[in-house]
């Protein structure tokens, strides 16, 4: 395992999402309203669009370009269902958030 | 204040846009014989005439190309000179005392 410290809890509040570079990989870090923190690939599997520009409602992230939707907690596509985003393990230690990107590749699904 | 700033001018001040354009057309029809001064200030347009200015719902609807109520005019009516009187069918700007 290669967890790397990304930021502190004060940098990413509940309801926020932000892009970070972790060991050379662009990761989208999301802090849900329920307090859980998730890391997914930063680019929509559909086309080269930054998911950070999408909108977050509960645990559903909607891409701003073609409105593809993903369940952030599982990484599974909601619409279309055959799509999927890569998830990276997250660990919170005290005030700090750590993410491990080792061996995980972003996923791509053509329409 | 100098005397040339005192006048009997009345009329609406509207946000620039299609409603203002329609009002400019409608007032010519609703106030026959009156001369209007139209002052375009980029974000708003000041429309003025002497003594009294009426805008009727029917006429405004005609120039808007759809049914248009006097209340809807409020969306763009940011101010006016003179005093105001509203009914279901028209809005009237006026002064009671002429100089």
């Amino acid at each position: 395992m290669a967890f790397e410290r990304v930021c502190s809890l004060d940098d990413l509040w509940q309801g926020e999402m932000e892009n970070f570079e972790v060991s050379g990989t662009e990761v989208l870090l999301i802090h849900l309203d329920d307090g859980s923190i998730h890391a997914i690939q930063s680019i929509c599997p559909h086309q080269e669009v930054e998911l950070v520009n999408g909108s977050l409602e509960g645990k559903v992230l909607t891409c701003s370009m073609h409105l593809w939707q993903f369940d952030v907690s599982s990484g599974e596509g909601i619409n279309p269902t055959h799509a999927e985003v890569a998830k990276y393990p997250v660990r919170v230690d005290g005030e700090d958030i750590f993410v491990d990107t080792k061996g995980i590749e972003p996923k791509f699904t053509l329409a | 204040m100098t005397d040339n700033e005192r006048s009997n001018s009345v009329g609406p001040v509207l946000r620039t846009g299609e409603v203002a354009d329609a009002v400019i057309e409608a007032i010519q029809e609703d106030n026959p014989g009156r001369k209007f001064v139209i002052d375009d200030k980029v974000s708003y347009v000041r429309i003025e005439t002497e003594g009294e200015c009426i805008i009727r719902k029917e006429t405004l609807s005609k120039y808007m190309g759809r049914p248009f109520s006097i209340t809807e005019l409020e969306l763009d009516l940011t101010s006016f000179s003179g005093r105001v009187e509203t009914t279901d069918n028209q809005i009237r700007f006026f002064l009671e005392r002429s100089l």
């Binding site: - | 204040m1 001040v13 940011t78 101010s79």
Partner: protein, 498 residues
């Protein structure tokens, strides 16, 4: 649809006065909250609001207004406009939101006073919409600066300013508490609905909109004109009140009330609108001078409405005309010098081209205000920035709470306006400010200016750091600096080099 027109049922909905028998009329409508003039109730029942709207129409129209105002919401949060906008424009916004947002919210409580204590049912119904309008204005003008707060902490003042003791806030609160929050429903309807909303809010909400459009800030331009479309309606509460007062022998009272409120609000607006228009907006985008706006909106439009109601221009009209030429120029100098005490970054912005423009719009500017800026320019050119900060504490007006200052140069006529009351000497900037105090000394006598508070020990430690902290500087955000980092003096440097 076979629905009735509004005018068919409207009169029934505003026929709701009744005669109480389980409590006294006086207890139900205490004169200090309702009508101190005790005009007969059937006179109040003639109150006919000239601008009518029903609840049904209101929610439809307002929904549509908000649809348009908020449509830029998503775009705004990613807009590059505010990253690229010059600091002069950013200062206009910071000053605007900081002084306006919470003032609008307090106005809800004033409108509610008319809803509860207004002697006419029509007034109570109209003010219900007025109350909702003010809620809208507060919420819009909090929502939009909130989108900017992550870019620049000074936007936090949109919410925080009113909770601080910043000198500019003390001035604003004193005036608003005087004309709005501490008035009965009837007096307040004249002061707020007529003098304030019919007379002067147009300057801020429409006057600045043209400059905003010229700057490319269509969000702001759209926002403030949309707000003003509400004011154009609910401000109409004032007109019937004036008519009823005049008809019932209270013409002199009505005149005095208007004169007090108009002057108080004017002193604020000349700072919050006059300075931005003539100094903060970059020269290329300036559309009209503040003086020209004043003539369009006040001298032509407002005064004509006052006269049409049978009242006259305020007795201090000559002072007022003189003030249009001077007050905001004085305060631009003052605020710029005291820039670390404010929450925006006021640009000096009096380079050679700007001075030319100012001389054209305000003949004689160079011989007076110009001499003040000559000294500052000279110090800046010689790298003596520290000399551009004042060393002495100003004298503050006991009415408007703004530093007392006068036109510099040959026309200098420094003259203190003072008044002794119960052993205390009060200082005023002008005769109207002194006059307002004398109309009711008991009302104003205990208030302390920011400088009084330094001497009385309320501000601790009583040094510059202590005062700044007391004013929220370094607590809410950093204080101000020159908005253009003194680049406006470069025109003089190159002129000198040639």
């Amino acid at each position: 649809m076979a629905l009735l027109e509004r005018n068919e049922w409207y009169d029934i909905a505003r026929d709701t006065n009744w005669t109480p028998t389980y409590v006294s009329q006086e207890n139900l409508f205490p004169p200090t909250m309702s009508d101190p003039y005790q005009i007969p109730i059937d006179e109040w029942e003639t109150f006919d609001e000239p601008y009518k709207v029903s609840f049904r129409e209101y929610v439809r129209t307002q929904r549509e207004k908000d649809g348009s105002a908020y449509s830029v919401k998503a775009a705004l949060s990613r807009s590059r406009f505010y990253d690229q906008a010059c600091e002069g424009w950013a200062s206009v916004l910071k000053l605007h939101y900081g002084t306006v947002a919470l003032t609008e919210y307090q106005a809800c409580q004033f409108q509610a006073r008319m809803v509860r204590f207004g002697p006419s049912p029509s007034m109570r119904n109209m003010a219900t919409f007025g109350m909702l309008d003010e809620m809208r204005h507060a919420q819009l003008q909090l929502f939009f600066p909130h989108e900017l707060v992550h870019r620049d902490r000074q936007y936090d003042w949109a919410h925080e300013a009113a909770h601080t003791n910043n000198w500019a806030v003390i001035g604003g609160r004193h005036a608003m508490d005087d004309i709005m929050m501490c008035r009965d429903a009837v007096t307040g309807s004249l002061m707020v609905s007529f003098a304030f909303e019919t007379g002067l809010t147009n300057l801020q909400m429409i006057g600045l909109s043209t400059d905003a459009a010229n700057m490319g800030d269509f969000t702001f331009s759209n926002l403030i004109t949309s707000i003003q479309s509400d004011e154009a309606r609910h401000a109409q509460l004032g007109t019937p009140t004036i008519e009823i007062m005049v008809r019932n022998g209270y013409k002199e009272d009505a005149q005095k009330i208007l004169d007090i409120a108009f002057w108080r609000v004017w002193r604020l607006f000349s700072v919050s609108v006059g300075i931005p228009m003539d100094y903060y907006i970059p020269l290329e985008q300036r559309h009209m001078s503040f003086k020209e706006f004043m003539h369009e909106w006040v001298n032509r439009q407002y005064v004509r409405q006052v006269e049409d109601l049978g009242l006259a221009k305020p007795w201090y009209w000559q002072h007022f005309l003189d003030d249009i030429e001077n007050h905001h120029h004085c305060q631009q100098g003052g605020i710029w010098s005291w820039r670390p005490t404010v929450w925006w970054n006021p640009p000096g912005a009096v380079g050679p081209k700007e001075r030319q423009w100012l001389e054209k719009k305000y003949p004689g500017w160079n011989d007076s205000y110009g001499t003040y800026w000559d000294v500052i320019t000279e110090n800046l050119l010689a790298d003596r920035e520290e000399k551009t900060h004042p060393e002495c504490v100003p004298i503050i007006c006991n009415m408007c709470q703004i530093p007392i200052s006068n036109r510099p140069g040959k026309a200098w006529k420094a003259r203190p306006y003072q008044f002794e009351h119960e052993g205390r000497r009060y200082n005023f900037c002008t005769e109207p400010c002194r006059w307002i105090f004398t109309t009711d000394p008991n009302r104003y006598k205990d208030h302390e200016t920011i400088v009084d508070r330094m001497y009385s020990g309320e501000i601790q430690p009583p040094d510059l750091d202590g005062v700044l902290k007391y004013m929220g500087i370094g607590v809410v955000s950093e204080g101000g600096r020159d908005g253009y980092n003194y680049q406006w003096i470069e025109g003089f440097r190159s002129a000198a080099a040639e």
